[in-house]
């Protein structure tokens, strides 16, 4: 399973990537913003997506991806500091499959991935 981590922070990408590797997910690729992610979607099975990023933010990425005939069904977990109810609802409405608020325990992120991908 190929997982794409989209975050403008190399720190977060590294923390998430390490925890995925430790949980047995070896095929992990990274993108620094929504536009970079769009160019790396081929073969991706799951996207872990930050919200606030330069160039193209996470919500714009979700809107664009969900309209794509090729990538429209790829599961997306939002991984963001935007944790107010309004933002969570907005992201879910746009088609995000799950949501985790920073800071988080990496074990919880792995659990969410396993639950989502086993559906």
């Amino acid at each position: 399973m190929r997982i794409l981590i989209v975050d403008d922070s190399v720190t977060m990408r590294k923390i998430i990537s390490k925890s995925l590797n430790a949980a047995g997910y070896g095929d992990v690729i990274e993108a620094t913003d929504g536009a970079d992610a769009m160019s790396k979607m081929t073969g991706v099975d799951l996207v872990l997506l930050d919200w606030n990023m330069p160039v193209m933010d996470g919500l714009s990425f979700v809107k664009e991806t969900r309209q794509s005939p090729v990538f429209g069904e790829v599961p997306i977990i939002m991984v963001t500091t935007e944790g107010a109810q309004k933002e969570v609802l907005m992201a879910l409405k746009e088609g995000v499959n799950d949501y985790i608020v920073k800071p988080f325990k990496t074990e919880i992120l792995v659990q969410k991935i396993e639950a989502l991908m086993s559906r």
Binding site: S9, T11, G83, A84
Partner: protein
């Protein structure tokens, strides 16, 4: 700036360090900032705003502190202020601002946050130009100091 506005930021610092590093920072006495110069080598800064709210939060670290934090967070020892360490400082500011934002939103005071900026240089200056006192919150983590500065202006205050 009302003093109670500082609490969501303090809680966000505690939550971030407990969750991501497994440590609880010790908070020391608050003070009002009287000069622009900081007592650190690197700062992560985020502005926030809405119709009636403007402000900024900055986390300032001496190099020894931020290298220890990087080690705790990433499980890797680094000896200099690399771009990765600077990114970690920006991300910490992002997480603290996001945590506080959530608490304010739950209390009917929503605002938007910017993308973080990072400033480096020994005792660099930070100017909060919103015409309200800046509260400085000193912390110790693993015995090493860092500061949080918060300025926040609410128009109907």
């Amino acid at each position: 700036m009302k003093v109670e506005y500082i609490n969501p930021f303090i809680e966000a610092v505690n939550n971030m360090m407990q969750t991501m590093m497994g440590v609880t920072p010790q908070r020391l006495n608050l003070s009002i900032k009287t000069e622009a110069l900081t007592t650190g080598d690197v700062s992560g800064i985020i502005g926030f705003a809405d119709k009636n709210i403007t402000g900024a939060v900055a986390l300032t670290f001496p190099i020894e502190t931020v290298l220890k934090i990087y080690e705790l967070m990433m499980g890797e020892k680094i000896l200099t202020l690399t771009p990765e360490v600077q990114d970690t400082v920006g991300e910490m500011a992002n997480i603290v601002a996001g945590g506080a934002k959530r608490t304010f939103a739950e209390n009917g005071m929503p605002f938007h946050i910017s993308i973080p900026s990072v400033i480096t240089g020994r005792n660099h200056a930070i100017f909060h130009k919103i015409g309200t006192p800046v509260v400085v919150v000193p912390f110790l983590v693993e015995g090493l100091p860092f500061n949080m500065e918060v300025s926040m202006k609410v128009d109907n205050q």
